[in-house]
């Protein structure tokens, strides 16, 4: 079967993005695990050092910094924000700095890609990303005996010394495209392409779809009065929205302003 390519020939372009409902998110971590399982993320005997371990989806635990019993916590699931950037000068932070074009912003899909075999590990993109989304392979991935049995063939296994990150499960888009193509369709339905984290979330806190398509749920959800994006003022123009009815949580979206503010790691 001739398989559909990355958007060529399709008349329609998409701006895929997410809306995460923080009132529903329970911090259960299923999204993190689903992502690791779907995208062949490695694990080590000791993963407790977050500064060295790889999570494409990281669920941040944040606290309002109030004393007992007024303390409150919330969770912020953080995949790659697939920043669109503002303009030529403010293109996607990571993409614009990569010297080897190993990461790219697709205007057909709004997805920020990462080519592991192209990346040579200079880590400039990591410096550019304010969301700590990009993680480096400090080790070669090693699977205990038998474990490589569950590896997903749709996602290449990364080698040491390269940077990786959330791809919005790009391979699932390709799968959907191929299917649509086989059925001689140009457009994808909302439910045909869903990310692994969205699908797994037991709370249904994550909604994924085309932010520009009025028929997709995210189109309305992103307009919720309580919707916000992380570090909006930087002009990264992210495509992951969050919704929370709690003021202090919405405040967490803004830049770090020093120690004298309430929000802190939980």
């Amino acid at each position: 079967m001739k398989e559909a390519h990355h958007g060529e020939g399709d008349t329609k372009t998409y701006r895929y993005g997410m809306v995460v409902n923080l009132d529903k998110c329970t911090g259960c971590g299923a999204c993190m695990v689903a992502c690791m399982a779907e995208n062949n993320l490695p694990f080590r005997k000791d993963n407790s050092d977050r500064l060295r371990s790889q999570l494409w989806m990281r669920v941040y635990k944040i606290s309002n910094g109030q004393p007992f019993p007024d303390a409150d916590i919330s969770y912020i699931p953080r995949p790659c924000q697939h920043c669109e950037g503002k303009d030529h000068h403010h293109a996607t932070p990571c993409v614009s700095v990569c010297p080897a074009t190993a990461t790219d912003y697709s205007h057909e899909t709004g997805i920020v890609s990462q080519i592991y075999t192209r990346c040579f590990g200079c880590r400039y993109c990591m410096a550019a990303c304010p969301y700590h989304v990009r993680v480096f392979n400090w080790w070669d991935p090693v699977w205990p005996k038998g474990m490589k049995n569950y590896l997903n063939p749709d996602v290449s296994v990364r080698m040491r010394g390269v940077v990786e990150k959330c791809s919005f499960c790009y391979h699932r888009l390709q799968r959907a495209r191929n299917k649509a193509y086989a059925e001689e369709r140009r457009e994808l339905h909302e439910d045909e392409y869903q990310t692994a984290c969205t699908q797994a979330c037991p709370a249904g806190a994550i909604t994924f779809g085309d932010l520009d398509d009025p028929h997709h749920k995210v189109y309305k959800l992103k307009k919720d009065p309580n919707a916000f994006r992380l570090l909006e003022k930087l002009g990264t123009n992210t495509k992951v929205y969050y919704v929370s009815t709690r003021d202090w949580v919405r405040k967490a979206a803004h830049a770090y302003t020093g120690k004298n503010q309430g929000i802190m790691p939980g």
Binding site: N21, D23, K24, T26, G27, C28, G29, A30, M32, V33, A34, A37, F43, K45, N47, S48, S53, L55, V59, K61, S63, G65, F68, P69, D70, A71, D72, I73, S74, T117, D140, P141, V142, W143, P144, K145, G146, M147, K148, N149, Y150, L151, N152, P153, V157, R158, M159, A196, Q199, A200, C201, P202, A203, G204, A205, D224, N226, T245, P265, G266
Partner: protein, 779 residues
Amino acid sequence: MKLDRRTFIEVALGFSIGAGTGFMLTPVNWKLMDDMTIWSQELWPRYQLGGLKGKLPQRGEVSNADTVCKLCPGGCGITVRKVEKRATKIEGRDGYPVNDGGICPLGASGLQLLYGPWRTPGPLKRSGKRGSGHFSRISWEEAIHEVVEKLSALRHHGEAHKVAAILDSDRGTVPQLFSRFLQAYGSPNFIRTASDQDTYELTLKLMQGADSSVGYDLEGANFILSFGSGLIEGWGAPVRVIQAHSIWRSGNGTKRAKVVQIEPRLSNTAAKADDWYPIKPGTEGALAMGLAHVIVKESLYDFSFIGSQTFGFEDWSDVTGKTYTGFKRLVMDEYGPANVSKITGLSAKKIVDLARAFAKAERPLAVWGRGKGTTSGSLYECMAVHALNALVGNINKPGGVSTRPEVAMQPWPEVVVDNIAWAGSSMPRADGAGTSRYPLTKYLPDRWPQIVSGSDGGGIKALLVQGADPCFTTMDSAAVAKAFEQIPFVVSFSTFLDETAFNADLVLPNHHYLERWEDVPTPIGLHKPVLGLCKPVVSPQFDTKHVGDVLMTIAKSLGGTVAEAFPWGDYESVLKDTMGEKWDTLEEMGYVAEADYRLSTWGSTFGTPSGKFEFYVSTFDQAGKEISEDVGYLPHYQPIKPEGNAVRYPLILIPTELMRLADGAVGNPPFCTKTMEENELKGNDLFVEVNPKTAAEYGLSEGLHATLTTPKGKGTVLVHLSEGIMPGLIGIPKGLGHTAYDDYLAGKGISANSLMGVVEDPVSGLCATWGIRAKLTRA
């Protein structure tokens, strides 16, 4: 001389310069560079995956298989994505009546448990000392032969009743095969591991005369009052409850339901709740009674239900004219807000407001079962909470509480017992359940000292363990370990090399749940009948056998009536027979759910002596249970004192539970451990949660190593300061401190159970521990 030197130098220079430029001009080095690159992109990564030949991971035919997750009592439907024969991903099954597409982190990690190095490779015989984990592989024939020899010997020495089996459940064909086996063999000692179900079942028996566990219509309720239940920490059927939680939270801005969490610590459930009321741990029963007081005083209760369907609400007198205190007078006299406020630490105003809000809500629901519900808990506390539900009349009502229904199945033929079996079965249970002391309790799984001591019928000589890991999940690990030493013969059927397997003489590994057939009865807490089917989606990865088949082979080799009790050829035919005409639907759909299921009406609900909902439990007398004082017949606040001396142990340690950390019979897989927060686990040390005030008193600071000591044991921990925990308490996560499995899990942190003790509920005899006195000192 000089001249030679010069020529030498000139030649040397000329040569080196020549060679240098020469090499740079050849294409060799450029070609080399390109090859090296490809090596770094293709060959090295493949080598890392353990195979240079063929592209890894292998591609191939993709297919999906539906089955049911067995990693917890949640009974979620799952869809396994396969590539050729490999299972590559577990996803929640869309449209499944329990979890509609959702999955939890543990369930999503199932493949690590399937392919991981912690699997029991095949039948094992202990070669080292107990717990050393030294085994030698033996054949299935040998393994089964060993068991048969031991069991027939015991049986012929009239010690059949000294055999016990402990399982994670008593429902479904596999547990039923075990209980049938013991019945035919001649032992009363079928034991089920502890959970809040123990106490709730007893409560329903006492107050409603029902032989069932509880079912909550969480989705239908619009005011949820949780007495410490970790609703989103993995309580009940975890994914189902989380989805209910999302229903409560949906409805833009204005939430669909109000959630109030009663708990001394800011758990995720507490954080998400609309109101979080931290009260002194262990006083939940008092609060429930206090709320009842306000509801009764202000006549906010359901008159029709209380009037027509209950017994013992008002004072009453028997035929002899002796009058008895009713529930109403008890709450009015003893549980005024001021008094309850003193006990619980919650302000009288809050108590009154909460009671009003609860009673006035359209569909209020009070839920019980501490944390994930992994301990039995206090009987009177459970009764008090259940009484609240009765007061608002939500028994067997939409959005209320009911008994958990099961999908009807084909009954099995009566067991024909021989004399030995008859004699053995009529002996008292080793754990003391059902004896005059605890006539109404079904199982007392945490009483290991009694089970092995020989007093009141104990003195177990052989133990069969299936689907449970009592050595890890039971409180007071030291006592359990000691008890196991006294059991001469322990057989584990564990799929994984867990703590109990390490303490077994023989391990006869069951298939992994993705490799076997098994029925999955209605998951705990559900109010609708759902029967799921666990199907093999991959061929057995190791030399394992279905525990059902192994057990029947054992029975058949024992011969006589024991053999006759099992007329089936193999486990699959057991399953087919039991499911009867439902089998076809089950096999095709993967589950059977009665869509048209209706809650039974009040009249037909209560099997109590009075035929009504009993605030005053007359079943006690009927069962010959000694109740010292009158109040003992009514729900009331009965303090359960934590072990330990308040002077030596100024603080109180409470277990905390995390959705990302499995604390049951299944060890936490690497993926889940990887998701744990930096302030929960660091290297091999876990963090305990302490309020900064408390920390200041004891000179503790964030990240500091400290020694945690309780009357039951001590361990080294790291300190995490949290404003989310009540001063004076220490929170320790449950599920770490494994000694078995392998070094992806073993040795990480300490086991909360090793620091906890078993405090028995005076009436049920079940473990009512909610915490223990402790001290925390700089290490």
